[in-house]
Symmetry: C3
């Protein structure tokens, strides 16, 4: 190995670290190719809740079920979308089977339980998150678009 | 060409590709200098729809019409903002002339047409997008801020 | 210095500029480690306004008061959250002391003043921003997640 080759090797190793870290950091958003949407449901109004499920269906139809990650986060009066109280519950359960994530706010569940004396019964496939608003923030930080129908 | 120069050339070509792709990817957001806002109208309520148009006017006044791209996306009950049924229709048409984009949800138009038997007549300057929610997602992916009045 | 070393030095200097600018640009989002949320209040409805303050409390409890920056922006009918007309005003003032930012829309204040003939009296700790919607856009541009309760 001659001197210039050695220098090359050194330079190359010095360059490598920042270069690859820059590439990695800059490339990160590229992994977000998949479309991601968080749909907030915080109203008890049946029409608004129904519109939210229509939004889910439209996203799936337009993009293809495998090309979009949808998470519906329900809190406050919106929690009823995800409980047995919802007449349209079967629609939620069916979408959950298809891979749509339904997240019920743990804070709201606690508050309802305290107020009514009994815990709301969630539909099949519904997950509980500690806090609905925190979840919505986290999803946006991960590149999810936000929609509040 | 001696051996080390050849190595240099090789190293240089190996570096070039990831380097420039990193630069390009990192630089992309820099082109988003212009302010961009998507305003969602999904309510039929006249007061809410009027507030949405006030929001447009306030953005234009504060930033200057040439310094902000505004797209109003109407879907569900909000579609009425963009049809002849809207008493304030002239305000929409006037803003459209000024460069504000008004996008009517194609899915909603189909649903209304199916339900009522006649297609809603859109105001002048209103565009149709295949799906309102998909459009809202896409705009956020392009750096648009989201406002739902 | 032989020829290949010179070439190395030249190559190195050519690489350095785009490399570091790429690193800097890619690293920029890393400073946004702190959680940031803008909460929009544009409804006069007391239940909706109360839900907004619950959202603030839940964010603080979940993340720790020092780990989240919250700005509540009130405009249109939502302005009443931040005026003496609000029965829950003490709750707003208490959260303001804790570091939550409450921003009242200057455009709305002007409109209300013009309409009613007297300027609404804001609660302690409330700031005035020129325009609520512009503020909401700016915060999202700075990486704030958006929530409209």
């Amino acid at each position: 190995m001659n001197r210039s080759i050695k220098t090359l090797a050194l330079l190359s190793s010095l360059i490598a670290l920042p270069l690859f870290s820059a590439t990695a950091a800059a490339a990160a958003p590229a992994s977000d190719v998949k479309n991601k949407v968080v749909i907030q449901v915080s109203e008890g109004d049946e029409a608004a809740q129904s519109l939210a499920l229509n939004n889910v269906a439209n996203l799936q139809q337009a993009l293809g079920m495998d090309n979009v990650e949808i998470e519906v986060v329900a809190y406050g009066p919106g929690l009823s979308l995800l409980t047995k109280a919802n007449k349209d519950g079967q629609r939620v359960e069916s979408l959950a089977v298809q891979g749509v994530t339904f997240s019920a706010c743990g804070n709201t569940i606690k508050a309802v339980t305290k107020k009514t004396g009994k815990e709301p019964v969630l539909l099949k496939g519904v997950k509980v998150v500690p806090g609905g608003v925190v979840r919505i923030m986290e999803l946006q930080q991960k590149g999810y678009a936000y929609v509040r129908p």
